[in-house]
């Protein structure tokens, strides 16, 4: 087990190293840098000024030197300064993380707490009207892009209530905080919930055919005990996998959702930083996201062993 963990951590490190190279060079391939953009906006070009500014920001040096400068700083916890605000990158990124984390967490919570029970119900009631209704709803969840759903929600709330939910950065009560995050989280979590439901349903249908389900009934167990205790425990692995993958996908969904709902989270911030070619912000933020995703995958793998005693990680 220990050797497995060591190997696993080493692989995670290699993965992150690969990601750092990809994101660094991808950013440099994108045409233009912050200096080009600034000068284009000003409509004034003095090559000497431009060269000075590039020198000041260090983007005139060879790429390999720039990469080393960034990645060695990243390892030491020195994230550089934002080109745009000239504030430390960490100071720009950190306050935005809790906002996005809450949004993503709530979306995943919706996805699991709605998707799993509905999936179980749909499987148990297979072929009934309820099952068909749930499957149609979940199919619509998979087909609606979250930004469009978000726009629909905003339009509908304006049409019905004459106002729309505005992001409240300092909610006073717990309930206010929930209200602030719930609507965008639902918009972005609908897709995940729908996917979770479908996976839960098909996994449950598979398990409900197994012999040990009949054994559980033969013991005198109630339908609820059979479905949730015996069947769901066996059906949960693919569901965990999907939720883990969704956790990573969520970042993509959040970029547009944060834009639609005007929420100052990291996802929207990332898009703005890309527009300004704000290298320190983009590079470090993508690395943060990569670390989160890699750890999410690791957690999912560890959860397998928790839920299925047949899975053990050995050397």
């Amino acid at each position: 087990m220990f050797a497995y963990l060591v190997r696993r951590l080493f692989l995670m490190f290699v993965t992150l190293f690969g990601i750092s190279i990809v994101i660094f060079f991808l950013l440099r391939i994108v045409p233009g840098n912050i200096v080009d953009i600034l000068f284009a906006a000003a409509g004034y070009v003095d090559p000497a000024d431009k060269a000075n500014l590039e020198k000041e920001l260090g983007i005139d040096r060879p790429l390999i030197v720039q990469y080393w400068h960034w990645i060695s700083g990243f390892m030491r916890g020195d994230f550089g300064f934002s080109y745009v605000s000239e504030k430390p990158a960490l100071q720009e990124i950190l306050p935005r993380i809790p906002i996005t984390a809450k949004l993503a967490g709530l979306a995943l919570l919706f996805s699991a707490s709605i998707g799993i029970p509905l999936g179980v119900i749909s499987a148990v009631k297979q072929g009934t009207k309820l099952d068909y209704a749930l499957r149609v709803v979940s199919l619509s969840g998979l087909s609606l892009p979250s930004f469009w759903l978000g726009l629909l929600i905003l339009t509908a709330s304006v049409a019905m209530f004459g106002q729309m939910p505005i992001f409240n950065p300092n909610p006073k009560t717990w309930l206010e905080a929930f209200a602030t995050y719930a609507v965008p989280a639902a918009a972005v979590g609908f897709r995940s919930a729908a996917l979770t439901m479908r996976i839960t349903r098909s996994s449950m249908l598979e398990v409900l055919r197994q012999d040990y389900i009949r054994t559980a009934r033969a013991k005198g167990a109630s339908e609820a005990a059979v479905n949730y205790h015996h069947a769901l425990k066996n059906a949960i692995l693919p569901v965990i996998t999907v939720i883990g993958i969704e956790a990573a996908f969520l970042i993509g969904g959040l970029i547009v959702t944060e834009t639609v709902f005007n929420i100052p989270g990291v996802a929207r911030f990332l898009v703005e930083a890309i527009r300004w070619r704000d290298y320190p912000i983009v590079q470090n933020l993508v690395m943060f996201i990569a670390v989160v995703v890699v750890f999410a995958n690791f957690t999912v793998d560890m959860l397998y062993a928790v839920f299925d005693p047949r899975i053990r990680y050995t050397d």
Binding site: Q210, D211, Y212, R214, T215, A216, R217, A218, K219, G220, A221, S222, H230, K233, N234, F307, D308, P309, R310
Partner: protein, 335 residues
Amino acid sequence: MADKTDLVLDVKNLKTVFFTNSGLFRAVDDLSFSVRRGETLAIVGESGCGKSVTALSLMRLVPDPPGRIVGGSVALEGTDLLALDEAQMRAVRGNRISMIFQEPMTSLNPVMRIGDQIVEAVRLHRHISAKEAQGIAVEMLRLVRIPEPARRAREYPHQLSGGMRQRAMIAMALACRPALLIADEPTTALDVTIQAQILALILDLQKELGTGLVLITHDLGVVAQTAQRVIVMYAGRKVEEASVEALFAAPKHPYTRGLMASIPAVPASGAAAQARLNEIPGTVPSLVRLPQGCAFAPRCKLAIKRCEAEYPPLADWGGGHLAACWRAEEVAEVA
């Protein structure tokens, strides 16, 4: 016949059907039998003859849809199980009547510890603490002769061999001391050497606990070793019922005779092996389109016009030996 109060199970005119796309499927048709306390009744027949559906019907676990019990009564210790509602039936299942299945490899929940699965069976029917139930679970594992029962109780099914798993299934089925145990081909999936051990174990425990046993099998060797009485089923119906001695001495139904003739004989040392194994020609008819007369007639050497026209009634040939055949008297002479 024994006194009525001695009956653990009394099945009368049981009918179970399946509604399929190709039509109504009479899996169990008008089946009656009874089991006395401590008695072993074997139900024998080919695959698809309705023996497993009979077992599931007794437990009321026939998958619905497509299956349904449409008639008859199943009296367990005097209570008609078919008249109970689902909650009452749950209180009976695993408590007064329980079942061992054919496939020990897949019949235990892979993500639950062996001990916990037995504990669940106990606590569903006895209001005792988890700790006491755990004690009973270990005790049951000891009873089915699993070595180191306390350690095994903490293990998961995949850590046990097939024979061990079947022992654990037996422990679970008997944990509440049921009046009736149904064993549906309990040894079919096991190695031959383990089969004998498991059968001996079931019989020992049956004697010890006074449980009635319905043993479903296609193996006449197993029947001869274990049962007191036998029912032979064909195409959903009982075609013969007798004590083991009477059945093996003089089967009255040509189908039973065919089954017995199909047992390969071990050639005496030195003698050449039998050239060809005996078989019953043809296959079981589709249960959707059964012939009007005797279902076995198309495969029967003795069949006459009457066999194809009329279904023969179950007639008593003395000493409770029942057979449904127009030509039962000739069966003995032909062989």
